[in-house]
Symmetry: D2
Amino acid sequence: MTQSKKIAAAVVGATGYAGAELVRILWDHPGVELTALTSRQYAGQAIADIFPAFRGIVPLVCEEFDAQSIGERADVAFLALPHKLPMAIVPKLEGTHTKVVDLSADFRFSNQAAYESVYQPHTSPELLQSSVYGLCELYRDQIAKASIIGNPGCYPTCSLLPLAPFIRQGFISTQGIVIDAKSGVSGAGRGLSLTSHFCEVQEGFSAYKVADHRHCPEMEEILSMEAGKEVRITFVPHLIPMSRGMLATSYSMLKKNMDTSAALKILTAFYKDCPFVQICPEGTLPGTSHVRGTNGIHIAARVDQHANRLILVSVIDNLVKGAAGQAVQNMNIMFGLPENAGLNNTPYPL
Amino acid sequence: MTQSKKIAAAVVGATGYAGAELVRILWDHPGVELTALTSRQYAGQAIADIFPAFRGIVPLVCEEFDAQSIGERADVAFLALPHKLPMAIVPKLEGTHTKVVDLSADFRFSNQAAYESVYQPHTSPELLQSSVYGLCELYRDQIAKASIIGNPGCYPTCSLLPLAPFIRQGFISTQGIVIDAKSGVSGAGRGLSLTSHFCEVQEGFSAYKVADHRHCPEMEEILSMEAGKEVRITFVPHLIPMSRGMLATSYSMLKKNMDTSAALKILTAFYKDCPFVQICPEGTLPGTSHVRGTNGIHIAARVDQHANRLILVSVIDNLVKGAAGQAVQNMNIMFGLPENAGLNNTPYPL
Amino acid sequence: MTQSKKIAAAVVGATGYAGAELVRILWDHPGVELTALTSRQYAGQAIADIFPAFRGIVPLVCEEFDAQSIGERADVAFLALPHKLPMAIVPKLEGTHTKVVDLSADFRFSNQAAYESVYQPHTSPELLQSSVYGLCELYRDQIAKASIIGNPGCYPTCSLLPLAPFIRQGFISTQGIVIDAKSGVSGAGRGLSLTSHFCEVQEGFSAYKVADHRHCPEMEEILSMEAGKEVRITFVPHLIPMSRGMLATSYSMLKKNMDTSAALKILTAFYKDCPFVQICPEGTLPGTSHVRGTNGIHIAARVDQHANRLILVSVIDNLVKGAAGQAVQNMNIMFGLPENAGLNNTPYPL
Amino acid sequence: MTQSKKIAAAVVGATGYAGAELVRILWDHPGVELTALTSRQYAGQAIADIFPAFRGIVPLVCEEFDAQSIGERADVAFLALPHKLPMAIVPKLEGTHTKVVDLSADFRFSNQAAYESVYQPHTSPELLQSSVYGLCELYRDQIAKASIIGNPGCYPTCSLLPLAPFIRQGFISTQGIVIDAKSGVSGAGRGLSLTSHFCEVQEGFSAYKVADHRHCPEMEEILSMEAGKEVRITFVPHLIPMSRGMLATSYSMLKKNMDTSAALKILTAFYKDCPFVQICPEGTLPGTSHVRGTNGIHIAARVDQHANRLILVSVIDNLVKGAAGQAVQNMNIMFGLPENAGLNNTPYPL
């Protein structure tokens, strides 16, 4: 592939954790040339001054976002910004050839009212119909044709992929699903807050936003679509005293008897062509360290037979499969590259 | 209180984590004189050489366990040993005046078959009828009269106290209870294992023994007794990358409508005379760091009304309320001391 | 001791980490009644709402600082405030009977110019002559007579106590002392900063303010006084990915030959009447976890004979012996209480 | 490069931490085919069962070590074994074409007596003359011609690279060098020990082997060779509560006046052709997280002018530049590949 054929990519909001992960992945991506990084807070500064790990490696300098300039210099723009900003920016990129992968919630919902019930009034509702929910393993075909991707939230990615085969095929009840999820601190971003202060987090574990997290309606919309009828879930997130990693444990009722082995076969068949999905062999369980720094998701299933309950345990790196990695996976699909291009490094053993 | 009136206490198995916590608590206890520490592995060595935090403070030396000697020197013996050893030791203490608080599972079950289904054949089954399950807030009266206490497991302590008021009073269904629990590493003890190796734990989070943990039948026995009919639960424990602390999130179905405020009132009324139980005000949630090093349990409730589901979140220090602290609380009750004697230090703010 | 004879104490700045530790210690102190907590940021809020560990235990509410009110209600005021505020506040308390233990740097220096070279112009220089440097083990006699104490910095406390016997008695050269110190994150306080963000600290270790830290002149002033001539040191602090704890390793040249055993004897003799100082037996070394949550300092010595160099390793809890604990120790001395009153809890074994 | 031209590599001892890192790096290395993994403990098991991060990625199975088989199947064998085993194995590979990179201490010393003073009798002393110390940035030319490499220890790598330009060029005194170093827990390996138990390490920091670590004579041999006369150092290692990463702070006396800027220029010039060495710009300092997972070393210098002392601070990942990464760098040099082949992934920003 010649230099001129590479995809020109911009990272808008390059100095948050998801943005910096995008820089890391895209800089090594064999099919991409990284042409622009933007940051309001650090405009004019080298990215390597913000993240010294990039010193001597990534020579780019952050700039202010300018829609026209990005439109001219990028085939794809990754938006790693707080909610509300992308829905103002994306319309400005319409008319350019620049495709968008938005990591915020602004283009994840097809139902405007659902979005507005947990975020704010949507200022570009007309784009919600053409944007595609970028959960790659489920919606590859739509993603391939899309020009605006709403990159899924980390909790939905980790929780929906294990449930999808069972809900789509009607193996579990649409009633009574419980998702008990746990995330590392990087999920809360690089902004300053007492809840991210080292001394408030270290050697502590807590629940937060019990049955009140904004990722809940995002999951309910997708599950309802997959089930063909309304699904309501109970979702409780927790904060783990570690930087990266997410684990979701879900509990649902089987509609017919099934043992653990059968549940694993359903998962294995469903994801047989998905390079990033690993189904854990029976008797083994996933840990977040197994996927640290990778775009993988490891899924285990176990049937609690006396209760006829299906237990699914899944792990991702919240910054990779839960954010930047899946965003690049979406780009790969949109541009016809191999789905794992730039995402297939062998992971760290610990 | 004069020196001669103090309770003479022995810690059998003083060099594990629960044993060392017992040493800490008993050494400062105003009504106790610590007369003997035993350890097979470290017999002959000063406890302060094993735990340098005790240097200059606790001058005791570990000795081999000898039933006759302990029987003569201790009004109460705390057994902080692996399962199976206590049921061999306790009969040897019968006939002495020494009361026993056993921190293993050996005397937690009244149903011998339930014990044997997850542990091993019980060699002193005749003692199971006289021993009392030492969940202090629920069984004070029986504890006060007992001479053998089966000190509850950490997961049962953390999970049962929030559920008890609702199950006993019939507010929740006995069907479909899910307990998703999370524990720090010290729960696995001081023994060497890859699963406790720093590099295997740090920056990782995982589930283990999914629907297969030995604390599950312990909880089912108590819940069934409280409900007056058989209760089966789904229980999934997880390992948190931290030393101390435990959080349990339980999900159960309300039998009649109730809001969060009503659920909190039930908890508050039930535990109004319990010095170690704090019900979190509506809108607040507990974290393990709020009870680190203390014998407290903090409990929050939230009703997920669209699902009619009661969510309970509770935290304890697994080594204190989940082990050594509750053991001392049991002793206090058995010997007629104030329930919080020796257990009422103001906790660390972080 | 009757209730009316208790020392009335106020904590000014109760919601930082050192302030909250003061609350913890003073609340349990048998000779103290805690009469006031102040906080600019949280005035009107219960301390237990800021630090939920205090829930159900400490019922006090934070108030705005008012000098006259504090002067009337407190025999002693602990100032746990940022540098610069105490030198404005202390003069307002002159004329009341309230003694002051100031945890900032404002009253640590007797040399005004040294203070001003690293802080700012001193607005109450006349008080520097009567205030006493509260390094308890060295300056008990002056402390007993003082009404204003400059409570030492954490690094100076940890570094000076091991060096003092050797420098005072002339065993080591006043030239070429190197102090390589390491601190947990709580030393930087509860304020928000990227350098305290969990994800920026976890799994990282770094040096900071190399040969440029404000505790360096504080140490040089004391060492020079003890040596009877000017001492200049090289001081490099580092940040450890943990909450609490500090370790200092110092390197100095022996003026005459001495082996490790002799060095340990010097330390043991010097600190024989000091309840908080433990000299580690030859062949053992201290760790920060040995003193976590305590007012202790553990000190090891080793002579590197081929280089004729004395190596001292010492550990403290930066929030206790390095801040709140030593402040209370100073109060005990000022008011004629046993030096370890309220500070002698048995520590956690892990 | 065609498949047949790839270097066939074996990892002997693949299931320790350094071994597993070798697997990670070599599996992705564009010029290498990984042909054999050996493990005594796990022979017959898939490496992905030992390290689940490799699941679905590395399909290799561990085998027992057999010298003849390895000799036939490997152009290069990496020995990631405990000290003492390699000196028994390497002679068995003599006569085959297999080159050796040994990660133990067995081939690091040219002086047999120095080795034996801190390890054990050397059973293959004749090979010490032909083996080369694999500190790549200093000894590239000898490495290129060698067939046995003694891969440097992690502490020597981190400490020697900053000092080398100054000691070789005579800028610092050969007397009085102090190295105060700090390492993450993975440096102690995957073996079980109380000192690696999570609960004994977490929230703790300690010194160990003060002036008594086996890496000290390794450093003294190299420094003496570079200086052209005997150098004795004082070396104190410490244990950081984190998995990966190492930081060394060294203190040495300048022989002539020099400011920080001049010291940085010396470093920059010395390492101008070294892709893995980054000299931190004046005013910035390195942290271990800046090199996590990479083969880089970041070095800062600061002159403490009132003491005429040079302070050097350097960071590496102990498992990469301190072990597996440098081993691969040595291989690259031995086989004429670009020095950074397989080692130039963009690092994680956090």
